[in-house]
Symmetry: C2
Subunit: 347 residues, 2 copies
């Protein structure tokens, strides 16, 4: 318990540096001493102290993930799990661990937590989630020259790399789909306009209306938190309008679920009375009643590519700025009035 490199060295009758070399698989070590050291390591159940190693090598084989506040609200949206699944699918292959910056108790802002994560040297790079408009986190990252990748689009010019969907186009496509179904009054359930993703999706909605010469009615746009409750109350407001929408684009599936619940309570039938399209195509979507049409933006892929890009920066010192766009595709089910077979999908 708690043996260190010196203990192993003296048991094997060599110097600490030799032990260090066999641990690191240094080539120029005689087979004989290598064996002897290995035996000593096993006998003492020696495990190298990663902290000490980290201190001298200045790498930690760990990447950091900054969970934006409020933390537990973030976990409520399946977005996080999907992202993390993508991220870990590459870290596990490359031998990296993932540090979640959660500590917030002492009233730390996201900026302070990011500064701390960088300054504390516990991670070799950082993945940032959920970029906000005029996000101060971006400039912190730039100033510090830390390897990092943003999941989402920065709202201002920046030198840091990012992965994103073409959210403008995705919302455009979703809205167009409803227009092609004959809808002219289409409501839009938006997430907070502080988030770039919300801004982009709203602007795609606008563009689609404009292209088809449909009038734009600000009353048809409701902003809510990315929570089911937000979708519910937003929808209630839309349905209370004298000239209610006949179709809804929700910029997140959880909003769409809330919207469906509100519609159900008021006695509207989906898709006959009201068409709904969600965003993200979470697993939930296919189990909804009726199964929900949703824009799949391949969140796991966002995470996967972000992690790959980050590890590239870290291991290859490849700091050139890269931006990647992940494709989207509309998964048509029954909530939008399309005539599709009642299919059964696996998770």
């Amino acid at each position: 318990m708690g043996f260190n490199i010196k203990d192993v060295a003296s048991l094997a009758g060599v110097s600490p540096s030799t032990v260090s070399r066999v641990v690191a698989n240094h080539p120029r070590i005689s087979e004989e001493t290598r064996e002897r050291v290995r035996a000593a390591m096993k006998e003492l159940d020696y495990h190298p102290n990663a902290i000490a190693r980290s201190l001298v090598k200045k790498t930690s084989e760990t990447i950091g993930l900054l969970i934006p506040n409020p933390i537990d609200q973030f976990f409520l949206n399946p977005f996080f799990t999907e992202c993390l699944r993508g991220i870990t699918s590459v870290t596990e292959q490359e031998g990296y661990d993932v540090l979640l910056s959660t500590s917030n108790g002492t009233g730390f802002t996201d900026e302070m937590r990011l500064q701390h994560m960088i300054g504390s040297k516990r991670v070799d790079g950082i993945i940032l989630l959920n970029s906000k408009m005029h996000d101060p986190l971006i400039s912190i990252l730039e100033e510090n020259h830390v390897p990092c990748v943003l999941i989402g689009r920065p709202s201002t010019t920046t030198s840091i790399s990012w992965v994103n969907n073409d959210n403008v186009k995705a919302a455009y496509d979703a809205t167009k789909h409803l227009i092609e179904h004959g809808h002219t009054r289409i409501g839009f359930l938006s997430g907070s306009q502080e988030l770039v993703v919300s801004v982009d999706r709203l602007s795609g909605y606008h563009a689609a209306l404009r292209d088809r010469n449909l009038p734009f009615d600000p009353n048809l746009i409701v902003t809510a938190e990315f929570l089911e409750q937000g979708g519910y109350s937003g929808m209630m407001r839309l349905l209370a309008l004298p000239d209610r929408p006949t179709a809804i684009v929700a910029s997140d599936d959880v909003l769409a679920f809330g919207a469906m619940r509100a519609a159900g309570e008021l006695g509207y039938h989906i898709p006959d009375d009201l068409a709904i399209i969600g965003f993200n195509d979470m697993h939930l979507a296919k189990m909804a009643n009726p199964p929900m049409t949703s824009m799949n933006v391949h969140i796991d892929e966002l995470g996967k590519v972000a992690a790959e890009m980050l590890l590239d920066q870290i291991t290859k010192a490849n700091r050139g700025k890269r931006t990647v766009i992940i494709q989207h595709n509309l998964v048509i089910r029954r909530s939008c009035g399309s005539q599709v077979q009642p299919t059964y999908e696996a998770f």
Copy 2:
């Protein structure tokens, strides 16, 4: 960029130890030097190197979470997110971060990853998920005297603390509910019998049948992975029986979803032809068609209590073994044939 304690010290005209003291809020520092040091820290944008600190203090303000292999399969079940939500709700208050041990690329087993996490000294304590029967991880934890808490019940006597549900009783209650609805042929969709939770839930099912003098038919028990696909194929097998069950207890909601899909494809109507009860009451459950009756075991609470217990061990050196049982409650919706109002629930 990259200033250290010495840089701050010389700028402030003091010794490194003094800087260290003001960082640590040491009381016996004159107000004047404290100010001077703070100014220097701010000017250099100094952030203490947590790695160096960790090396000497032997604490990291980080707790480790060992994600069992296969990692990405684990993320597919919402169990993980809920657990993590509970865990982070306490770490964020207490100023701890969370390290996910994911690195697995070089063919590491769970044991090796645990050993590494402990030996590497990057975490002050460990939360273990998903205990298996005869789990070797448990003995590793015991031997190393690391602060740790198990989420789940250990299958053998052990000195380590754990949090769990009374899964035997929970499955008993779920099964009893179906029996009270008049069912006598009740199928059981189990997760892998290598997991303690599966064993417990199956034994609760047994006990309920026994208590009501119902015959036990091994054909009614199907074991599958905790994935929707597992529930689907398991259900297909049950429904192919000459004397098919009229009700199902699924030991996980994702299994129940797969079961519902299979039943749907074969033209069975739920709950009229077939009653189903799931386990975990994930958010999905209430959005199912029909809304799913499910045993809520309060997973976030498991995570929360586990984290609290762990931090207690770490900060108070409170190593006494503790075991906590989190209550369960059946959330009755429409998939089990109970006559309940079609209610609408928020997330």
